[in-house]
Symmetry: C2
Subunit: 304 residues, 2 copies
DNA sequence: CCAATTATACTCGATTCGAGTACATTAGGG
DNA sequence: CCCTAATGTACTCGAATCGAGTATAATTGG
């Protein structure tokens, strides 16, 4: 090692790039994890980066709240892309590199989610193989077959297919949304119509990144409560976590974990039963937020 | 919610920003976690983002390898900053927003780390309160005192101090490097000379981000091996993990966890003992990489 | 009154994990 | 040669966690 890196105090013209923000806005309604989309469900909301704000975070927060009318409870930076060939379908002659900074935002359940709100779509329409709440979706074996054929005699590829899709004794890992999508991309399966809706450019890949991150996050951080109404029953909370993780949870274990972590407290009220015994209502304990945000809030999962 | 966000197909001039890459390059030598610095240890290596490469990742990788002469085993994007007032000390008249994309890179132990390599510095020189391997550093109680005074009668602040610095029965959490630094920043303690070396601009904060991320990562991912030589003893491996986490590890438990995860295999050779019984040499099992990268590789920690 | 549905409490066993103890093997000094 | 220091290696134990199953309580609707 002879050369020592020099700090370049000035910036070359090549250091100038158009910057764009992309938001993955998530809400859960009717036990479905929904994401805000534009252009007929083919694009994630995005816009140019305005330098009038103090930081990226506040810039995006203001923009989202202006557009949706809802406050964003939780906002987290995901990833910054700058690939030249990001949007192969785009008709733009412009081929210069664009910097795209993606964010994950959580907003509370939309009140009165009527039929006239087509912009929020269940993310399982884009990734139908990811919903394992009731059963293993029919897409999984069909994708697995085509992936196995694609892997051929390559043992490493075959092992990767097994691991990512829970084949041959491997267990399904719900966090690997992005890795599964990328494997399918390599095998040329992402544009097969029966394997989920398309999106413009790499928006579907960015969405997969967001789902992966959120599924990982809810296991050690109480971000779920950013998606819940003020008061809720424990089953509602469980259904929300199930919607996000795409897994079925063991009810007694879920309750045990929730109350031994002291994340919630009773409101004293009781839900108007939709059938069956009425449930107690709980609210999130904001006092404990700081501490729990820093430590971990594990969630109990279970198979099928 | 009346307004629906519009996708802006074009980019305003405000969407143009200078882009810069910042690298946190980490190596472990002499049981010290070291970071590559420039300008007398006051800056992290950085440079303008060149659009001649295919992606950010490959752009930065090429740049690092050209500068250091060492291949980068592991490279991960950390965070993208775009705050206007990033470098308050800078004499630049230029106040326009700059986008800084930070990366964490791991390089193998430098061979023959003589005295003539001043650019690699132990990160504990910047964060002396973070090294809990032998004992709790003397800085911790002194910082704690000043933070408690700063918190005053505010119970939330006091609780935060306790939690972050392991006071009043709370246990030290080694991952919260960034949160501790930010708390000290709020309390105006980061520029106290006895509390660590300074860095230009927010470089020290970025370094804290990288340490936090790496300390979290080694718990569930086998990235440590990117810092190890080809063959190593189990104690060497343990010392490296200890250097990074700043914690003392329980030897029997460490070995148990390592071999029951089947991350390593014996080379058959035996180390030339530096004293004491000679140890068997191991190498990382690259075949298992894919699988372990995806699942988790927990590490056993211990207190005091 | 009964069935269906939901809520809530409890038990059991496997696994993990922190912590401690014991023993083995080498180098080096008296 | 023996003793000590330093390192390597193998066990054990108990607490905590966690997946899974079972049982019981309360309510609605026929």
């Amino acid at each position: 090692m002879t050369g020592i890196a020099q700090y370049t105090g000035t910036f070359l013209p090549s250091g100038l790039a158009p910057a764009e923000l992309i938001a993955i806005l998530v809400a859960v309604t009717d036990n479905q994890p929904r994401v805000m989309t534009l252009r007929g469900g083919e694009a994630l909301p995005s816009g140019p980066f305005e330098s009038s704000h103090r930081s990226l975070q506040s810039s995006l927060r203001a923009w989202i709240e202006a557009q949706t009318g809802h406050p964003v409870g939780y906002l987290e930076q995901l990833y910054t892309f700058a690939d030249r060939d990001r949007d192969p379908r785009s008709g733009d002659v412009e081929t210069s590199q664009r910097i795209s900074i993606s964010y994950l935002g959580l907003v509370r359940e939309q009140d009165a989610a009527g039929a006239g709100r087509p912009s929020w779509r269940s993310w399982y329409r884009y990734f139908p193989w990811e919903d394992h709440r009731d059963c293993i979706p029919e897409e999984v074996p069909r994708i697995a077959d085509r992936l196995t054929a694609w892997a051929g005699a390559d043992p490493l590829k075959a092992q990767r297919v097994d691991y990512l899709f829970g084949l041959n004794g491997k267990t399904w890992n719900e966090e690997l949304v992005l890795q599964r999508y990328e494997l399918m991309y390599e095998a040329g399966l992402v544009d097969v119509p029966e394997f989920g809706l398309p999106m413009a450019g790499d928006n579907r890949r960015i969405l997969a990144t967001g789902i992966s991150r959120l599924r990982a996050k809810i296991k050690y951080s109480p971000v779920v409560f950013e998606l819940m109404p003020e008061s809720f029953t424990l089953l509602q909370l469980q259904r929300t976590v199930e919607a996000l993780s795409g897994l079925h949870l063991h009810k007694p274990n879920f309750r045990r974990q929730i109350d031994q972590q002291e994340l919630v407290e009773e409101t004293g009220e009781i839900s108007s039963g939709t059938g069956g015994r009425p449930a107690r209502l709980f609210r999130y304990r904001p006092a404990i937020l700081e501490a729990r945000m820093l430590s971990g809030a594990r969630l109990p999962l279970s198979k099928s």
